[in-house]
Assembly symmetry: C2
Homo-oligomer: 385 residues x 2
Amino acid sequence: MRGNEEMEFLLEASDSATRARAGRFRTAHGVVETPQFMPVGTVGTVKTLTPAELWEAGARIILGNTYHLYLRPGLEVLQAAGGLHRFNGWNGPILTDSGGFQIYSLNDLRQVNQEGVEFRSHWDGSTHFFSPERVVDIQRVIGSDIMMVLDQCIANPSDEAAARQAHLLTLDWAQRSREHFLRQKPLYGFPQLQFGIVQGGVYDHLRKESVRELVAIGFDGYAIGGLAVGEDARTRNRMTELCTDLLPENRVRYLMGVGKPEDLLDAIARGVDIFDCVIPTRNARNGWAFTRTGKVVIRNARYRSDFAPLSADCRCFCCTHFTRAYLHHLFRVKEMLGYRLLTIHNVHFFLSLMRQARRHILDGTFQDFQNRFLESYFTHQEKGR
Amino acid sequence: MRGNEEMEFLLEASDSATRARAGRFRTAHGVVETPQFMPVGTVGTVKTLTPAELWEAGARIILGNTYHLYLRPGLEVLQAAGGLHRFNGWNGPILTDSGGFQIYSLNDLRQVNQEGVEFRSHWDGSTHFFSPERVVDIQRVIGSDIMMVLDQCIANPSDEAAARQAHLLTLDWAQRSREHFLRQKPLYGFPQLQFGIVQGGVYDHLRKESVRELVAIGFDGYAIGGLAVGEDARTRNRMTELCTDLLPENRVRYLMGVGKPEDLLDAIARGVDIFDCVIPTRNARNGWAFTRTGKVVIRNARYRSDFAPLSADCRCFCCTHFTRAYLHHLFRVKEMLGYRLLTIHNVHFFLSLMRQARRHILDGTFQDFQNRFLESYFTHQEKGR
C-alpha cells in the first residue's frame, strides 16, 4: 500500500425532482454518510465541546484549520503527539483546509506569487511561507483524513481578469499539490485523501475550465471554493450547479464555507454532498439558536421567564435538560455554560437537518421536505430577522 | 410540619490525635457526608459545568450567592421557576450565603445601619436594601436547602471597636433572622435550614461571646465568618479552634470562604465540617491545576509537548481523556474547553481530598494522612510558587 488510497463515493440514491444525492464514503477514521455537515474545530477543538459531546450531538466528521494548527500548537507538537486525532481525542474523520482561506481573510499583508504565499501570523506578526507542497507536508503532520490543496481565494465580486489569474494559479498549485501528495507517504500508518478546489469566481467559463482541469489531474474528491465570500444566493446556487453538473458522480462534492440551513438545502438540491461552516458554533456563542421554527435570540427579554425548552421537538442535551429562561440567564450573566449549551443545540440542529435530508433523499421525498422545512423556518421567524 | 425541621449533625468518628471529625447531616435534597467542600455556583452555575459534570466530579452540595441571584436572574424568575433547583437543574443540596460578604467585597458605596444595609448593584448601579428579614425572604424564594443569616463582615485587621460593633450588629441581626425564619414557611414544599454566623474579628473574647450568643439563639448549624479576609494562617487557625471549642457537637460547623488544600486540612484538624471557596474553580480558569504534588501552571512552556495527564493518579474526566500538552494548547489559544477541563479536575481534586480526609478520620489515621499530603504537596511544588 502506498498509503494513498483513492476514495470512491458510493452513490446510494439520487432524487428524481432535484439533483440531490445520498451516499457514503470511507476514510481512515470511519465512514461518512452524506449529505453531511462538518462542525469547525479551528485550532483542533470545536469551541466549548469535548469529542464525546460532539459525537452525541451527531457530528461524524469535523474540520480543522491548517493555518491555525500550523501556528498553534505548531507542527513540532502535532508530530510529537502522533497527529491531531491523538492530540485532541477526536477519533472520527477530520478534514483540514489548506490555509488559503485564512490567509485570504486574516492577512492584509499577504504576498502571493507563483511559488506560494507569504503571510504574517495573526498571533505575533511573524512571517511564514506556504507553498502547495509545504501545505501537503503540513497536513501530513496534522494527519487529517482528508487534506485540501492550497488555492487562491478572492472576494466576490472580482473582475474577470483577477478571477482568471486566481483560477490559473490555483490550477497550477493543484497540479503541484497532487504530484507532491502522490510522491509521499502518510506519517501515522493510515491513508490520507486529497481534494482539489474549484475556483473561477462568478464566471461560468472559468468555473467550467477549473472543474475540467482539476478532474483531469484527478483527486479523491472536489471542493467548490470561492463562494460564500460576498456573492448573492442566486449567483452561488448557479455557480454550484454549474460545477456539480461537470463533476464526476463517483467523487464526493464539498461546498466550502456554506452555510445557513436554507443554503445547505439549496446546495444539496444541486448535488453537493458535504459542507463546513462556523455559523452553528459562532452564532451559538452570540446567543443565536437555530430551530425548525426559525432563529431564537436567547438574550431577548421575552425568554426571561419562559420555562419551555429552546425547541420543543429537539432531543439534544440542551433541550432535554434546560429551559429558555435558564439559557437566557446564562447569556445575561455571560456564563460559559450558555455558550456550550447553545453550541450543542446548534450543532445538533445542523446535523439533524443533514440526517433528515438524507432520509428524504433515500425516500424520494427531498423536495417536499425542503419546502416544508423552509415554510416552517421562515413563517415563524422571530421578528427582526 | 412547620417546614422548618431542626437539623441534627450525626457524628460518626472523632480523631484521637486532632479535633477532626467525620459525620453526616440531612437536607431536603440529600445527605451530606463530612468533611465536605462546596463548589461555588455564584449565579446558580458552577462556572463552565453542567449539573451532571459536577456530580461526576464528586460534588454533593454546592453554594449559591444570594446577592448575585437576587440581582440576576432576580426573584421573579426564581419564584416562577419554582426555586433554584428547578431553575439550574442541580438536584442535590444547595447552601446560599446571605449576601453580606458580596456587599462587603463588591460595594464601595454600601451604607450599614441597625436596620440593614443599602448597596448598589455591581451590574447597573441601582440601589437595593437588605435587612436580616429580607434576606430570609429572598432565600425562601431561592429555595436553598440551607440559608445563612445576614451578617456584617469586616476586613482583618480591624481594631477592637470596629470588630465589636460588627459582632454586636451581627448578633442583633441573627436574632431577628431566626425569629423571622421561624415565623415563616418555605415556598416549595420542602424544609429549609438556617445557619448562624460567628463574627468577632481576631479578638478572642468577641469570638467567644459571638459563639455563646448564637448558640443561645439556636440555629441548625454554625458558620465561622470573618476569616480568610486578610489575616494570617496562624491567626485563622487560632480563631477557628477557639470557635469549634465552644460550638455544640451535634451541629455542623462551616468555615466560610476557606480555602487552599492545606487550609482545609488545618481547619478539619480543628473540628470544621464544611467549606466553600472559589479557589478550585477560579484558579482553574486562570490555568492553575491542583495535584497531589503541588500546583501545575498549565500555561508554562514546559508542558508544551508533555503528553502525560495533568495528574497521573487522578481519575477525573480531564486526566483520563486529555494530556498536559493539549490543555497547554487550549489555554494558549484561549479555548473555553480548557477552562472546563481544569475546573473539572480542580473540583474533583478538592472533593477527593475531602473524601480521603473523611476516610482517614473514620480509620483513625487523619494526622498521618495530613502530614503525608503536605509533604508530597509542598516538596514537589512547581518553582515560583
